[in-house]
């Protein structure tokens, strides 16, 4: 079996409104990833991308001739949005280790900061949501996660002030981490008191509990170890897993009987541990899909990093910050670095493991877990230094 490495990372860093179309960000990110890996577009023989947004943003059919790829041997669409971005990288790993391709390019970008309706547009296109939820004003992810947070507090006996401290603690950590990242979109400190003074958007969520909107793109190149220069052989995907709960996307946030638990996320953690022989909690940094502050909380618990209902103590200690005991979303995540739906999480993890993070380096880190869903589907990547 061929050993696969994450050989190239390229980013068009997130900004609120660039006025540039997503294709412009995508080509910038892809060019940067190829340059980073030290290969040319003609070396690329596999392309895999996310299945829902990318086919209309920049299809593989349009990408291949625009890059001048001459020998495409492998292509695939993974699954929708965040979990699909991670799954594309995992599938690239499989394509390389099986010998089906030597250099597999994955890419993802959005221009929701400048154009379009953002995530509410995706959710509003589902028929049950359009018929049943939107006419009463129950529109989009913000309200799903607001109701989820309330249910979480009720299930675990948290008072309103305790819930506020928990969510605020996650938001503050994301902002503190972003403050150190030279390319984060929101580099402004936030104190817990400032958080508490913010008005609600959808009680119990405030502005700082809610993901940014961004323009930007990320490209990740997975290559056969022997096909790249030695200094790009340093990071590999040691394990990965993907799970889907058997419920339609449009029904999950209102009808899943398991809410506020995330069975697909837990199943991914279990499979990582089974295949790797090490738990998700053993990773030196965690980069988790934090569309809302509460999403970080439920993921930490679903992944087994904290016990159900017990995340508050960890958050109160500042553990999620760089220098804390459990550095999480070291670039600031979707809450403060930018809303590239998890693609930047992968880029940040690779840079952490190269010991080349942009102001956010966690000292001596040799493993990282990156996860996205979180909800009906989930994908987790456990990345490791090849010298670890």
């Amino acid at each position: 079996m061929v050993r696969a490495v994450v050989a190239g990372v390229g980013e068009s860093h997130p900004v609120r409104a660039s006025g540039r179309r997503v294709t412009s960000h995508l080509f910038a990110a892809i060019d940067a990833a190829l340059e980073d890996a030290g290969i040319s577009a003609t070396d690329v023989d596999g392309v895999i991308t996310e299945a829902k947004l990318t086919p209309t943003a920049l299809s593989i059919d349009d990408l291949v001739p625009a890059l001048g790829i001459q020998n495409l041997r492998f292509q695939a669409l993974s699954s929708p949005v965040g979990a699909g971005i991670m799954l594309a990288v995992a599938q690239a790993h499989e394509a390389v280790t099986s010998g089906r391709a030597t250099h597999v390019l994955t890419y993802f970008g959005v221009d929701w900061g400048s154009f379009g309706s953002g995530p509410s547009g995706i959710h509003g296109a589902m028929d049950a949501k359009r018929e049943v939820e939107y006419p009463v004003g129950f529109g989009g992810p913000q309200l799903y996660f607001a109701t989820m947070a309330t249910r979480y507090a009720a299930d675990f006996g948290l008072s309103r002030p305790e819930l506020e401290d928990l969510l605020g603690g996650v938001a503050v950590a994301a902002r503190r981490n972003a403050l150190r990242h030279e390319h984060a979109q929101l580099r402004r400190d936030l104190s817990l008191d400032e958080y508490r003074a913010e008005e609600f958007f959808a009680e119990p969520l405030r502005r700082s509990d809610i993901s940014l909107l961004s323009d930007g793109a990320v490209a990740i190149l997975v290559s056969a170890e022997g096909a790249v220069r030695p200094e790009r052989r340093g990071v590999e995907i040691a394990a990965w897993a993907h799970r889907v709960q058997s419920i339609p996307d449009q029904a999950f946030y209102t009808q899943s009987r398991d809410l506020p638990a995330f069975p697909a996320t837990t199943a991914v953690a279990d499979e990582i541990e089974r295949t790797l022989g090490a738990s998700v909690a053993s990773a030196g940094v965690l980069e988790l899909y934090d569309c809302f502050s509460v999403a970080t909380v439920v993921q930490l618990e679903a992944l087994g990093v904290t016990k159900p209902g017990q995340t508050a103590a960890l958050v109160a200690d500042g553990a999620l910050e760089i220098g804390g005991e459990r550095p999480t979303n070291t670039h600031g995540g979707l809450l403060a670095h930018g809303y590239l739906l998890g693609a930047s999480h992968v880029a940040e993890a690779v840079r952490q493991l190269r010991h080349d993070a942009a102001g956010t380096q966690v000292e001596g880190v040799d493993s990282a877990f990156v996860g996205a869903g979180p909800g009906r589907q989930y994908t987790g990547l456990y990345l490791r230094r090849t010298d670890a």
């Binding site: 049943v132 009463v136 004003g137 109701t147 959808a202």
Partner: protein
């Protein structure tokens, strides 16, 4: 109850709401409640769904108070309270409903009665807290 038609699946629901009843879907053959309807009944493989009227009693699964609306609705002034109401008799299916009284703060587990009220010219599910012991 008429079976749903692919071209306007939710029409019986809208007609029910205009008559003060809330309807959900169940399998036309094995009668298992599936809300929202699936592409096919997972239990008996039947592809047709029928609508039935629910008992309007339920419990608050969770709720939120919307201060900044994410979708603009004519005549619906923020802040308003939305809840997911779990209907035990409908196998735990949840109804998204507006609080008739937007100043109320519900609690998870509160008993409620579902009603219908007009929003932007169409009847929609609402709820009121049920008196204790009801």
């Amino acid at each position: 109850m008429p079976e749903s038609r692919d071209d306007d699946l939710y029409k019986p629901r809208r007609e029910g709401l205009e008559n003060g009843v809330i309807r959900l879907t169940r399998c036309a053959r094995c009668k298992v409640v599936e809300w929202y309807p699936l592409a096919r009944c997972v239990h008996c493989r039947n592809e047709a769904w029928e609508w039935f009227d629910i008992d309007p009693r339920g419990r608050v699964h969770s709720w939120c108070r919307v201060v900044r609306p994410t979708v603009p609705i004519d005549g619906l002034e923020a802040p308003y309270v939305l809840a997911l109401i779990e209907v035990e008799e409908a196998e735990g299916a949840r109804i998204v409903a507006l609080a008739e009284d937007p100043t109320q703060t519900p609690m998870v587990g509160d008993a409620v009665r579902l009603t219908t009220q007009s929003v932007a010219g169409a009847a929609q599910p609402h709820f009121v807290l049920a008196p204790a012991g009801s």
